[in-house]
């Protein structure tokens, strides 16, 4: 199995070729404004190496393009919101907790209709079919091209949302439709927000994925395209086009997954030290531990499956202040190669300290010869103290665990830290994110309330649902393993109600085998 992994970051676009789970070649190219030409450059540079100019089975891209669009309020489109579940929740309509500027940009129209379900699967109210048809006609007449549909308890019973999709397909077939149960869990407002953001990114997703395809085709590669999602697994490009929000946090996830792969460790802490920030996370069974709580994206509350990450202002480009001695949080960022002392600049950075201390060999070492030893030691101690505190904050067990240090600024991580059994550094660690993209798996998840079932039976039922979803998303059934399971009894509900969340992941299915089956 040969795969190319690409990470499109804010500064660099990295590409790697993996053959039989090993890195054959890796390259770094500057990210370009149009994204596509940066990918094309990276692919051309990669393929210039004869070892990497071989046929590949898949290209996997990780990108922060969609989350940046939301954060920077650009390339978003108007959305019609359809909420089903009236007369409940009427005082908190769609967009009610959005930042005003973003709501003004995205809100095209809002429809609130009767229907939906209760926690036990009973219909809440009969679905207002006539109201749905009227809404669809208004959407068509206003020329809105993207619709988000959210119905109460749709993760338990999506039938109201699918009925709405069918009506929309009939009356305004050119509108793209996002159904909230495809994206989220229990939590109407957060799930609706995810659907609205997704719908607002529809046009951008279509053009971006088409551009990715073009870059790959232009580079002469003939292989299916996958995009990585927040949880470190992949989706087929067609699905990614429909669900751009699922790739929001893929950059950080990929570097953690890549670190796991390069080191062979599946349970460890990971620190990815970049130019400006360090991201600290935890690997469990080879996947990042997810944030449990509400995650805000561009000021909007969501329940996305995002890795639980702590970002601190410490990186290779961090400014070093002298009184008192402090590293970061300001950074020279992408200007490192012109502003750092060793590169002929005038700003003392963490990179200069590392060169002076002999931890790193870049630039002109003689330019940091006059940096006093006491300053070097104090700066390194400050960086160590910051890492130590925050790595300990992210640890979830008390014993010593290994720490994987990756990223271009990993030299700032000392060789010993309290609470850490060993510091692991790996070859190609600076391209861990692209490696993570290349080795990503396919996953499926179920999150439902079960009643009158034993705990074991409820988990087994959830697992079957998750496995079916993974296979639908392109996984090979035989390779699926359970990567996460969580069950929680629900207070006050009768019938031993149990909420079960199960996630499975497995290898990308070989398309030929699928065709034969």
């Amino acid at each position: 199995m040969k795969r190319i992994g690409i990470d499109v970051g804010g500064t660099n676009t990295d590409a790697v070729l993996i053959a039989d789970e090993k890195v054959v070649h890796s390259v770094k190219c500057p990210t370009t404004a149009d994204v596509t030409s940066g990918i094309l450059d990276a692919l051309r540079t990669l393929r210039a190496n004869p070892l990497a100019a071989v046929p590949v089975d898949a290209v996997v891209i990780g990108t922060t393009h969609f989350i940046n669009a939301v954060v920077q309020r650009r390339s978003l489109q108007k959305v019609a919101a359809i909420r089903i579940g009236m007369p409940a929740s009427a005082s908190l309509p769609p967009f009610c907790d959005w930042p005003a500027d973003l709501a003004a940009l995205v809100s095209g129209d809002v429809f609130m209709l009767e229907g939906g379900h209760d926690y036990d699967g009973r219909p809440f109210m009969p679905l207002d079919i006539a109201g749905l048809k009227a809404a669809a006609r208004k959407i068509r007449d206003k020329g809105l091209r993207s619709v988000a549909v959210c119905s109460s308890f749709s993760p338990l019973d999506p039938s109201c949302e699918t009925a709405a999709r069918d009506i929309l397909a009939e009356i305004c077939p050119e509108a793209a439709v996002t159904l909230s149960h495809d994206l989220g869990r229990i939590g109407l407002l957060e799930r609706e927000n995810a659907a609205l953001l997704n719908a607002a990114l529809n046009d951008l997703a279509v053009t971006t994925v088409a551009a990715f395809r073009r870059a790959i085709a232009d580079s002469g590669i003939d292989a299916p395209l996958f995009l990585t999602q927040n949880d470190g697994t992949v989706m087929q490009a067609e699905i990614a086009t429909a669900f751009p929000v699922m790739s929001f946090a893929s950059g950080a996830t990929n570097s953690m997954r890549g670190a796991a792969h390069l080191s062979g460790l599946h349970d460890a802490m990971v620190v990815d030290v970049g130019g400006t920030t360090s991201d600290i996370g935890q690997l469990r069974h080879g996947f990042p531990r997810e944030a449990n709580a509400v995650v805000e994206v561009g000021g909007v509350r969501t329940l996305f499956r995002m890795p639980d990450l702590l970002s601190i202002g410490l990186g290779g480009g961090s400014h070093v202040e002298q009184e008192p001695v402090r590293v970061g949080p300001l950074s020279v960022g992408y200007r490192l190669t012109s502003e750092a002392l060793v590169f002929g600049g005038t700003r003392l950075t963490a990179t200069d300290i590392a060169v002076a201390a002999g931890l790193l060999d870049v630039g002109d070492r003689s330019r940091v010869a006059s940096v006093p030893k006491s300053l070097i030691n104090a700066a390194l101690a400050d960086a160590q103290r910051k890492l130590e505190e925050d790595i300990d904050r992210m640890k979830t067990e008390s014993g010593d665990v290994p720490l994987l240090a990756v990223g271009g600024g990993a030299f700032l991580v000392p060789n010993r830290l309290p609470g850490i059994s060993e510091i692991v550094r790996v070859p190609h660690g600076d391209c861990a994110n692209a490696v993570g993209a290349a080795i990503a798996q396919v996953s499926g998840e179920a999150d439902q309330v079960f009643r009158d079932l034993s705990r074991e039976d409820a988990i087994a039922a959830a697992r079957r649902i998750a496995e079916d979803r993974a296979v639908q998303a392109g996984a090979e059934r035989g390779s699926l393993t359970m990567v996460d399971v969580e069950d929680m009894p629900i207070a006050y509900l009768p019938g031993n109600a149990l909420r079960v969340r199960v996630r499975v992941a497995g290898a990308i299915a070989n398309p030929d085998v699928d065709a034969a089956a």
């Binding site: 409940a88 929740s89 009427a90 005082s91 908190l92 009973r122 809440f124 979830t396 207070a491 006050y492």
Partner: protein
């Protein structure tokens, strides 16, 4: 009698109230976030809520006691709507042929801490600065008015589909809990309720006073300390005369459902001054007992608050998770709860722990 002095509650007071109510929820009562969203929108439309001292009530005034009853999970799909709680209060006026002078929450802790304000907007009457728990508790009979032996009926329940129910008469508060819980489950495990109306005299004698301003004060202390990059928990303790009991990290959470409640325990591994030590927290919807080894170091009705060590906000029993950095503190319970009769209703034995209540604040 002169007109009582009313204070207008500002939006910043409500933001602080939401933080303080969540802390006073002692792990239960559901998050006040959706209620806060309702009030933000109502305030943006120009509505304002007035706050009234319980001392300013006339003996014969009627006071509505409101509560949003049900499972917090259902509340995440059927979102709090201020008009529903107001309708439950109107039902009490209709069946009893009375007019309410003011409204109060049955519990200041958790999401119910803002329900009285939501009702007040539509009813056009002030909120009484008081409640019946001074915190959150899981059951209807765990209130100061039950401890006072006041009449438990009638109770109105409202579902926005147009379902209106009344529990007309019951022999005890325990029966009120059982009968109203059944109706609530049929309504989808969520209902807007208005408990037995109280007279001004009853509120003066048996309600727990000044808990709305207490919740606002707590929220403000925490928010301001956090904003100034100072320790929010130290600010809370100083403001309320609380005690810091333990600091550490959650290392285990075990949950189970028994008799319709969320029970279980969370284990905190000590850090800083408590390094090497462990604290076990038992909960039934709310935090009930904290144990150091076999020894209970604090128990209900003392308020056991598990707080996020960084921002000082409350940590709920439904959402507490591995790895959270928490500080466990105790706040003093209202006197009525720690009286001998009060302990029959809300002492450790009411939660199934055969322990003699000893307050962490009583002199050794």
């Amino acid at each position: 009698m002169s007109e009582p002095e009313l204070t207008t509650i500002g939006l910043d007071d409500i933001e602080a109230l939401a933080v303080g109510a969540w802390i006073l929820g002692t792990g239960g009562g559901g998050s006040p976030y959706l209620g806060l969203l309702n009030l933000r929108r109502l305030y943006a439309e120009g509505h304002r809520v007035q706050l009234m001292s319980p001392h300013d009530l006339g003996d014969d005034d009627w006071v509505a006691v409101v509560s949003n009853m049900g499972a917090p999970l259902v509340g995440q799909e059927r979102l709090a709507d201020s008009r529903n709680i107001a309708r439950a209060v109107r039902m009490q006026e209709e069946i009893n042929n009375i007019k309410f002078r003011a409204v109060m929450s049955v519990e200041i802790g958790g999401g119910n801490g803002v329900q009285a304000l939501m009702a007040a907007v539509h009813l056009g009457i002030p909120v009484v600065d008081a409640d019946c728990m001074g915190r959150a508790f899981p059951e209807a009979q765990m209130t100061s008015v039950a401890i006072g032996g006041l009449r438990p009926y009638p109770c109105t329940l409202y579902d926005p589909r147009g379902i209106e129910a009344v529990v007309t008469k019951v022999p005890s508060w325990k029966w009120m809990e059982r009968a109203s819980r059944k109706i609530c489950v049929e309504m989808g495990s969520i209902a807007s309720t208005s408990k037995a109306p109280r007279t001004g005299r009853e509120v003066k004698d048996w309600a727990i006073h000044f808990t709305t301003t207490k919740a606002i004060r707590i929220g403000r202390a925490v928010q301001e300390a956090h904003r100034r990059h100072e320790d929010p928990i130290a600010a809370l303790l100083e403001s309320e005369g609380g005690k810091k009991l333990f600091t550490g990290k959650i290392v285990d959470v075990a949950r189970r459902t028994t008799e319709g409640f969320l029970r279980g325990s969370a284990l905190v591994e000590g850090s800083d001054a408590d390094r090497g030590d462990r604290l076990k927290l038992s909960f039934q919807n709310e935090w009930v007992v904290a144990w150091r080894g076999e020894e209970p170091i604090v128990m209900a009705p003392d308020l056991i608050c598990v707080l996020d060590s960084v921002n000082g906000h409350g940590v709920g029993t439904e959402t507490v998770r591995y790895g959270q950095r928490v500080t466990v503190v105790a706040l003093p319970a209202p006197d009525v709860l720690t009286s001998p009769r009060g302990l029959e209703f809300v002492g450790p034995r009411a939660f199934g722990y055969d322990l003699e209540f000893r307050s962490v604040f009583s002199p050794r």
